[in-house]
């Protein structure tokens, strides 16, 4: 019978079909971090249990770490306690930790792929909703709650209902200055934040075939922002090249990976087709990620972008946002902090200066990304342009550390959520691509990045 890639990977991981709707699913790789794991370890410790498969568990500190002076002790007592709890738990249970200062430290969804831990055909979980990022490799990857973190630590399994499947095809050619981030924001604006609820999504079509792994990660990352349980892209030469550059893979394994791709006659529960040539540089206008518009268009007021969101953002229906003053620019997060993102930003800001009134932070996704940027001289370009080039972490995406946007300030951010207060109490967030954010930093205003492209 013809099957989708989602069904094939799922079926290969069913330990036991518990009922007609619920399976005990085996988890290949479990990423953990300091914020959503301590209560799970406390559960194990209370029962005097050890982690079942510590070699399939990989830890990093990212959510709650400072992005300046990481060589010094963490000043905030609670953050420091949370990070040291992770260190102790990893030591006690024999789990490899890429902690603060480690050459491989960084955001969990950046270090997993770049070190070859994330591979096609896997089931991957983490106590973080953006675990969907790893779907870019043709993997079933999704975020879980802390109780489930405890389930995986204890049994390497989860009890899950079989997902519905959705295919989102984007064909055509993306225009100049249109990035993977714009593609993600466009899809979300079409589907709504609940449009894919209950489904795993396969992203397909020529746009995804031509995307690099970094670009695929950016879109899969935001699957959760359309309500999906996870999102993935089929396995092709781009996927295999990326993984084989990082780890040794047998020929048999590659043949197996290729066999996982969706069969031609496979049926999805839902299919959505979009035209890539319709996508333009996007910015969000409300307090929900589905409020994205073409950067040149007027703000709309509708069910998605309601009065509450608009009033929080201090925007009105029919406002044009081009030319609107910006206070902060944040380039980072598991959505857009990889080397390709930084290269695009560097290309745009090279030999330019940021606007005086803008505070601009670039927070690389990992120490590897940071090192690579330094080797390519990007750090110098950023600093010359007046940007701060920080150490890795989740930073102002969720503002758990000191990287907070002040109340009322407007921030153009390459992160994934523009919720009320997400970047700090009262902070106003506009989600955009790295080049749109870079252009805003240079002019100090919302700016169409295409004006800077040759």
């Amino acid at each position: 019978m013809s099957r989708t890639i989602i069904d094939k990977i799922w079926d290969a991981h069913v330990v036991k079909s518990v009922t007609s709707t619920v399976d005990a699913l085996y988890i290949d790789t479990h990423y953990i971090h300091e914020v959503t794991s301590p209560q799970a370890f406390a559960g194990l410790n209370k029962r005097n249990l050890k982690v079942f498969r510590p070699q399939q568990t990989i830890a990093t500190a990212d959510h709650n770490v400072p992005t300046k002076n990481q060589h010094l002790p963490i000043e905030n007592e609670l953050s420091s306690h949370q990070v040291s709890t992770l260190v102790n738990n990893c030591e006690d249970h024999g789990i490899e930790l890429f902690g603060i200062g480690h050459e491989k430290n960084g955001i969990v969804h950046v270090i997993g792929p770049e070190n070859g831990f994330t591979q096609p055909g896997m089931t991957i979980v983490c106590g973080d909703s953006h675990t969907s990022t790893h779907g870019a490799f043709g993997a079933i990857a999704f975020g879980i709650g802390t109780s489930q973190v405890e389930h995986v630590l204890t049994t390497q399994c989860l009890l899950l209902s079989r997902p519905k499947t959705m295919r989102i095809e984007v064909n055509g050619i993306l225009g100049k200055g249109v990035t993977a981030k714009d593609t993600a924001l466009y899809i979300i604006s079409q589907l709504g934040t609940e449009g894919a609820t209950g489904h795993f999504v396969e992203f397909a079509g020529t746009v995804f075939e031509q995307f690099s792994m970094e670009e695929r990660m950016t879109v899969c990352n935001m699957s959760i922002e359309m309500g999906a349980r996870g999102g993935l892209v089929g396995i092709d030469a781009t996927t295999i090249d990326y993984v084989c550059k990082r780890v040794e893979i047998s020929k048999e394994r590659i043949v197996y990976w290729q066999s996982l791709n969706t069969d031609e006659a496979a049926q999805f529960d839902e299919v959505i087709k979009l035209d890539g040539s319709m996508i333009t540089p996007m910015i969000t206008t409300g307090t929900s990620p589905d409020t994205g518009i073409d950067i040149t268009q007027q703000v709309q007021s509708n069910q998605r972008n309601n009065e509450k969101g608009l009033s929080y953002m201090q925007m009105k229906e029919d406002d044009f946002l081009l030319g609107k003053n910006v206070d902060y620019v944040f380039i980072g997060s598991c959505t857009n902090s990889r080397i390709e993102d930084l290269r695009q930003v560097a290309e745009l800001v090279k030999d330019r200066k940021k606007a005086t009134d803008v505070t601009a932070w670039i927070v690389p996704g990992s120490n590897e990304v940071r090192k690579q940027a330094q080797q390519e001289g990007l750090d110098k370009i950023f600093i010359d342009a007046g940007f701060e080039f920080r150490e890795p972490g989740c930073s102002a995406c969720l503002a758990m550390n000191d990287d907070k946007i002040p109340s009322g300030a407007l921030c153009v951010s390459t992160s994934n959520r523009n919720f009320e207060g997400r970047q700090g109490d009262g902070a106003r967030t506009i989600l955009a691509s790295p080049i749109t954010a870079a252009a805003a930093a240079i002019t100090g205003k919302i700016t169409d990045p295409r004006t800077y492209l040759n």
Partner: protein
């Protein structure tokens, strides 16, 4: 747990994300307890820390254990702290027209019953409870029914809950206990499974 009988509280906002349910600044704790006081913190309190009199939940009976919320409740972050905060506050069931997947799983793992109704039904329930906060809501988990009877209002509906999750909630079985009980199956699976 088999039945929840209580008055309700209305928070008539769509797409309430888990950042609103429990803002990230409260996630530094390494415990599961004590999050109820921070539930909806940014909406519930004024900047000076005093309760915000305009916040919807303050207009309903204290101790109500059924929350009636807008569409797509619990979207965004996977933080289970949201379910812990709701549970700690005393909420046992939530009525909405749709729940985000991760939140729904977290809710069930904390014995909070997510009840999905149609959008027009949600609008009716919201209106009734807003106008008559004393209206009793009866959630019968075994029968999978929600019954709301006011003076001039009557609503009864069967709701969906996965049979296995229902059994676990009613018989107080944790998913973890179940998974531990099939450890032999897991080890047998691993022998055949290539990582």
């Amino acid at each position: 747990m088999k039945r929840i009988q209580s008055t309700g509280m209305v928070l008539n906002i769509d797409n309430i994300d888990t950042d609103q349910i429990i803002p990230a600044k409260f996630l530094k704790s390494t415990d599961r307890e004590g999050f109820g006081k921070h539930l909806f913190a940014n909406w519930r309190y004024l900047e000076n820390g005093e309760p915000n009199p305009d916040f919807s939940l303050h207009k309903f009976r204290k101790g109500s254990s059924v929350l009636i919320a807008g569409n797509n409740f619990g979207c965004g972050s996977s933080r289970e702290h949201a379910a812990w905060a709701i549970s700690d506050y005393g909420i046992r069931a939530i009525i909405s027209s749709q729940f985000a997947d991760i939140f729904k799983g977290n809710a069930l793992n904390n014995d909070i019953v997510p009840i999905e109704v149609e959008a027009d039904e949600l609008a009716l329930i919201t209106k009734e409870v807003e106008q008559h906060p004393e209206t009793e809501i009866d959630v019968n988990i075994d029968e999978q029914s929600v019954t709301i009877k006011g003076d001039s209002f009557s609503f009864e509906k069967k709701f969906d809950i996965d049979p296995l999750k229902k059994k676990f909630i009613m018989e107080d079985i944790s998913e973890l206990e179940y998974l531990i009980s099939i450890k032999q199956n897991i080890e047998a699976f691993e022998l055949e499974h290539v990582l």
